[in-house]
């Protein structure tokens, strides 16, 4: 049950493209932030915010809302772009990102921006907060669902596995973790034919040689493994996760993604983890992603400009209803 007005059939790919463009534009404008991670998780996030979450943009603190935690907090700009498109903040406000006195901090700050459910940034901590929310929902017999989006790099942190074991022990089927499995991290240069023979394992996928699905399963979680850019698979996984598990296991969705997805320059390139695009790259990105540009080229009926108006911000700067 969605409780606010969004299009009956939101055009998820176009929304994701618009959000990706906002990420590129904002990071270029602010000369700070991350690109690779926000882009890899974007289809997951757009699906969540436009299809799955029970939320009220005009009432961000609605007590019965689903909870969402972006544990990989460095991808904050991706979340802000989605929150803006979804009506939690004016799209123009994205320009304040990282500029001082902004609600849009480099990493999500729950004390500044209504619509956030936790502060994150120091990696590996979000799942624990999600466990607390899910436990509290159980204790209070409340039926909201808690969602935590994790990076496959950040789950190298040991604290994640503390939360993982507690979640299965308390049978938190009202908790879903989503792992953005893009296979790259900041300094995790992937192995290449030149290096495979010589490196000691430091130029590898963060989980090289580890069967992550088996690990979660062994910890007592239900595992769904999907293509994190396939909207049908994403939507099905979310519905299954919310429905719960017959044996009350928490659910993890391991979503295979491509870092930098949607921008050809950035796809699978670890150096786009955090980078300020050059003028030349920005222009290339604009041609690929800017809705204005695409409108000129695209003969389809998609009127992204119209959608922009339809998703007019529902909250003011202070989070109060417009």
């Amino acid at each position: 049950m969605t409780t606010d007005v969004i299009a009956e059939q939101p055009d998820l790919p176009h929304l994701a493209q618009q959000a990706r463009w906002e990420v590129i534009r904002t990071v270029t404008n602010s000369k700070a932030g991350h690109i690779g991670g926000p882009l890899s998780m974007m289809d997951l996030l757009i699906s969540l915010y436009f299809r799955e979450l029970n939320i009220r943009p005009q009432e961000p603190h609605w007590p019965d809302r689903d909870r969402f935690i972006l544990s990989k907090g460095h991808a904050a700009i991706g979340l802000y772009a989605v929150l803006a498109l979804r009506g939690f903040l004016p799209i123009d406000e994205l320009a304040t990102f990282d500029k001082g006195d902004s609600r849009l901090q480099g990493h999500p700050d729950v004390t500044r921006l209504p619509g956030l459910d936790a502060s994150t940034g120091s990696l590996g901590q979000g799942l624990s907060v999600g466990v607390g929310m899910a436990l509290g929902a159980q204790l209070g017999a409340r039926d909201f669902h808690t969602w935590v989006l994790l990076g496959d790099g950040e789950i190298q942190e040991g604290m994640v596995w503390e939360a993982v074991q507690v979640a299965s022990r308390y049978r938190l089927s009202n908790l879903t973790a989503i792992v953005d499995r893009n296979g790259l991290q900041q300094f995790g240069l992937p192995s290449s034919t030149e290096t495979t023979g010589t490196d000691r394992g430091d130029r590898r996928d963060p989980w090289f040689g580890v069967d992550l699905a088996a690990v979660f399963q062994a910890f007592g979680w239900r595992v769904l493994e999907i293509d994190g850019h396939d909207y049908a698979q994403i939507g099905n996984a979310y519905r299954l996760a919310r429905a719960g598990d017959v044996t009350a296991r928490p659910t993890v969705i391991i979503a295979h993604t491509v870092k930098g997805k949607g921008l050809s320059l950035a796809e699978g390139v670890h150096t786009w983890h955090s980078i300020v695009p050059s003028a030349e790259d920005f222009e290339k990105a604009r041609q690929e992603l800017d809705p204005e540009e695409i409108n000129l080229l695209d003969q389809h009926e998609h009127d992204t400009h119209g959608r922009h108006q339809e998703l007019e911000p529902l909250t003011q700067k202070d989070g109060a209803p417009a």
Binding site: V129, L135, L139
Partner: protein, 313 residues
């Protein structure tokens, strides 16, 4: 005499009865910290997080976001060291309503040695923006602090000790954040204490009096926030101020007093007594107090010597 940890456990049970928001998270030490009393009385609101203190703090923050008031149970050192990053980001930076209770604080923790001694908690927590830092002198003050903490929306660090401590404050004592208490008036030297050490300073006061030395005793139960004038006023006019704490001489009460007095112009000489840049060891309480200069006898001797020593210019 009831041990402070028992007083804490009993009070948790009472809060749980009066306030449905009360929840307790334990790091597999409830029978040591005495949070087990709450587990028996309110099993549905007791959560066993196991030996994983970082996650314990994160879960507490999640529960707090739903309106619960989580109290945490483990040894001080595992919160202020092992779990300090979640405390920083998820509690202090997030202004989460989590009550971090460090049991077995100070030097008298039952002969377990330097791995379990936390000689830095006050320094660490004082440097944590938005954190209230509390060290009660006795059970009466502890209970007043818990009543206050239960009502205030925000992070609180509460430092409690393992063993029984003598009464220091009067019955009916209410807690006011930042307040400093002048427990004895004096003219020759001012003694400043926090936590259970304040009780020992009252013994020092009595001993010095028999030697004709008049010592004021000032108690600082709330290291942050602090009413700076409330600390300066009872210390004004003294040439010698002695601080004593079961903590490193760096960054705790001694640091607080030095910072506060020197910020307001010429300061008296300040002798800081505490553990002197070393790690401690496994030993009985009396040994620890004696070795680190915190026993009433050692403090009395140090005050006597300090009063005789010429002031260096």
């Amino acid at each position: 005499m009831k041990a402070m940890r028992d007083a804490w456990g009993d009070k948790l049970v009472e809060l749980g009865r009066k306030d449905p928001r009360t929840v307790v998270l334990d790091g597999d030490l409830a029978n040591s910290t005495k949070a087990d009393k709450f587990a028996k009385a309110h099993p549905d609101r007791f959560f066993q997080m196991g030996i994983a203190e970082q996650n314990l703090i994160g879960v507490a923050a999640g529960l707090a976001s739903l309106g619960y008031v989580p109290w945490t149970s483990s040894f001080t050192v595992f919160f202020t060291h092992r779990a300090i990053d979640p405390i920083r980001m998820l509690v202090a930076q997030s202004h989460a309503n989590v009550k971090i209770v460090g049991s077995y604080s100070g030097l008298l923790i039952g002969a377990v040695g330097k791995t379990h001694l936390d000689i830095q908690d006050l320094a660490i927590m004082r440097a944590m923006p938005d954190m209230t830092v509390l060290a009660p002198a006795d059970n009466t003050e502890l209970l007043a602090m818990m009543d206050w903490a239960n009502e205030v929306d925000g992070p609180v660090y509460l430092r409690i000790v393992r063993d029984p401590v003598p009464d220091v404050v009067q019955a009916g004592h209410t807690f006011r954040p930042g307040a400093v208490y002048e427990l004895r008036q004096g003219t020759d030297v001012a003694l400043v204490g926090t936590g259970a050490q304040t009780g020992r300073l009252l013994t020092v006061h009595d001993q010095l009096l028999t030697e004709g030395i008049s010592a004021a005793v000032v108690h600082v139960p709330c290291l942050k926030p602090l009413d700076a004038d409330g600390l300066r006023d009872p210390l004004s006019g003294f040439e010698l101020v002695v601080t004593a704490e079961e903590h490193s001489v760096y960054g705790g009460l001694g640091g607080l007093v030095a910072e506060t007095l020197t910020a307001a112009g010429p300061s008296p000489r300040i002798e800081r007594i505490g553990i002197d840049d070393s790690w401690g060891e496994s030993a009985p309480n009396d040994f620890m107090l004696e070795k680190h200069g915190l026993s009433p006898e050692r403090i009395t001797a140090r005050v006597r010597a300090a009063l005789r020593a010429p002031v260096r210019n």
